[in-house]
Amino acid sequence: MITNNENLMKTQFCSKCLYGSDHPLGIVFDNNGTCSGCLIHEEKNNLDWNYRWDLLKKLTIRYKSKRGDNYDCLIPVTGSQDSYYIVHIVKNKLGMNPLLVNYNKYFNTSVGIYNLANLRIKFNCDILIQNVNPFSVKKIINTTLRKYGSIYWPILAGHTVFPVQVAVKHKIPLIIWGAHQGLEQVGMFSHLHNVEMSRRYRKDHDLMGVEAEDLLSNFDTLNEGDLWQYRYPEDNDINSIGVKGIYLGNFLRWDPKAQHEEMITRFGYKTRNLNRTFDTYDYVDCFNYMDLHDLLKLYKNGYSKVTDHASREIRFGRITRDQGISLVKKYELKSIKFSELFCKWLGVSRNSLNFVMDQHRNSKYWHNENFENWVFKGWSTFSKKKYSKKENLTKSFIENSKLLKNERESYITFGKGYP
């Protein structure tokens, strides 16, 4: 068991990865100080993945449209994350006919627009895109930023509810996701539990305990017209269609780095360098996820996405724990690059934004020494190890979007994509 003897007195850290007991998803430790995430990760090396692949085939074959007049399943996609791999498995390996569904996040980069267009073209899939009006989205973000320190609530809500709404409306019961975040990060479930999508998990862990109806208040400007698109379908409707959301990560040995590299080679997935992490594959489609949103995560939780990436790489044995700490220290306090773009879009000043963001700095991890001078006392400070330039670990991730180096720095709501 490793503990920090200063501000993090009560925080227990995993003896293997970099996660602490304050993890917002919840985490538990065994008697050896190993976290539940690392323990469940070991299953990836021990399970019979051939057997589990057969389970997946048996499960999905029941959903194939017998008359060929409807889609076999839905796949929620974006211009990044694991979308390419999921579509490849479903279409090319399982032989299913999916309908892709995408919630348009507004903060799209040109790489993201390219990847999404390329995805539907290369895999020859139909796609349904939802674009909630920008007036409502901005109103929601104003509220969620102020109340919860989140600019991403409508994106998380939309991405997780739009597929379920489409499933009910179009009577396509099966939704196929990639990896279960709770399982992959903190070992919330064993792979053997075959955990499925649930409204409870969405509310608790995707939406910080806040569903659309919880945002309605007499003391706010949001109304039903702004929020109805984010409401979860009723239990009765979900049951009548038999909607079911499964995770490929329960049936395939899930390794995002290896999968992305296969998709780069085979299908032309584009990547980009991100300022606040060494991983060039994840979240390349968004100006704000690895920027402003990531900084807010650091403010509230004392760690940021680079810790998630480093912990993942430690568990796969590609870097050591010390190397992980070194990478975290290199990236987590880097400044953000696109806040002006966000302020212009939302219609707020930089000072206003900073003021609101500062309200959400967790005093456990941030000390205000004098006006505007904040000292970080987050998770990474438990280790005295400094970043070492000698350990150039970041070269193992590919960056291949030189084609788009001249992109304008502005959000693309809709893009043509590339032929």
Partner: protein
């Protein structure tokens, strides 16, 4: 008339809901308020909340948890267990909105205090918790604080607490958290006991076993834990496979109606 219940169990450790496996291993689930709210929306018959790190750390009931649950508007009857040491604890918990309480370590320590609780709160409000296992055909009762097991006779326990406790929750603690591995041999311990009612818990989500157990006259309820977190509407799905007719029917919320 409703004679049997299917109860949802929520295990709390370090202020979070966890999955529990054999009283030794745990995996995180999430916030108690959201888990309980979800079960309420599913229309479960009752919810038992077991705070498992109270007694073992010599703490009283988890009042922080109890206060947080008071704030959510739910209709499902709630039952609380964990750290209850005195009549005063029992009264506070019932005043907070819980209908019944579960006692475990107090059964080993202080029967007189349980008698007081039964007198003031009513026998119906008291449930006794018995983690059991079988060792060489003997029934063993686990004291989870000392982690030692004592051979017992269910008939003696039933007689001892006859007018004090309304139901016993028998936990197959070794198979707790497993999928469908409840040890049916445990039923021999109580099948001939007519003056007590039993709730069973521990590795019980196999419909065949559930249907068999519900036929036993002195089984009033079965409790399900971990597996309710694995799929949407898992509770309703389990109820769907139970052929016993004297239960509340499964329910799917529809605010449009």
């Amino acid at each position: 008339m409703i004679t049997k219940r299917l109860i949802a169990t929520v295990i709390i450790k370090n202020q979070q809901v966890v999955q529990s496996f054999g009283y030794r291993k745990y995996l995180p689930i999430g916030k108690p308020e959201i888990v309980v709210e979800n079960l309420d929306r599913w229309g479960v018959d009752e919810i038992i909340i077991l705070n498992i790190d109270s007694s073992i750390n010599n703490r009283g009931p988890n009042y922080k948890l109890i206060e947080s649950l008071k704030k959510i508007n739910i209709k499902t009857p709630l039952i609380y267990g964990g750290g209850i040491k005195s009549l005063k604890d029992g009264i506070e918990i019932v005043k907070s909105g819980f209908e019944r309480i579960v006692l475990d370590s107090l059964l080993h320590q202080d029967v007189e205090e349980i008698e007081k609780m039964s007198k003031i709160l009513g026998q119906q409000a008291i449930i006794g918790c018995l983690p059991l296992s079988i060792n060489k055909n003997k029934i063993m009762w686990l004291d989870y604080k000392s982690l030692s097991s004592l051979q017992v006779s269910m008939k003696e326990i039933s007689n001892k607490f006859k007018n004090i406790i309304s139901e016993f929750i028998l936990i197959d603690w070794k198979n707790e958290g497993s999928i469908g591995n409840f040890d049916m041999k445990l039923t021999y311990a109580f099948k001939n006991i007519k003056n007590s009612q039993f709730i069973l818990f521990g590795g019980l989500n196999n419909p065949t076993k559930l249907n068999k157990l519900f036929k036993m006259e002195n089984i009033s309820a079965i409790a399900i834990g971990n597996s309710l977190n694995y799929r949407e509407h898992e509770y309703q799905s389990i109820k769907n496979k139970i052929s016993f007719s004297h239960m509340r029917p499964k329910y799917y919320n529809d605010n449009k109606q």
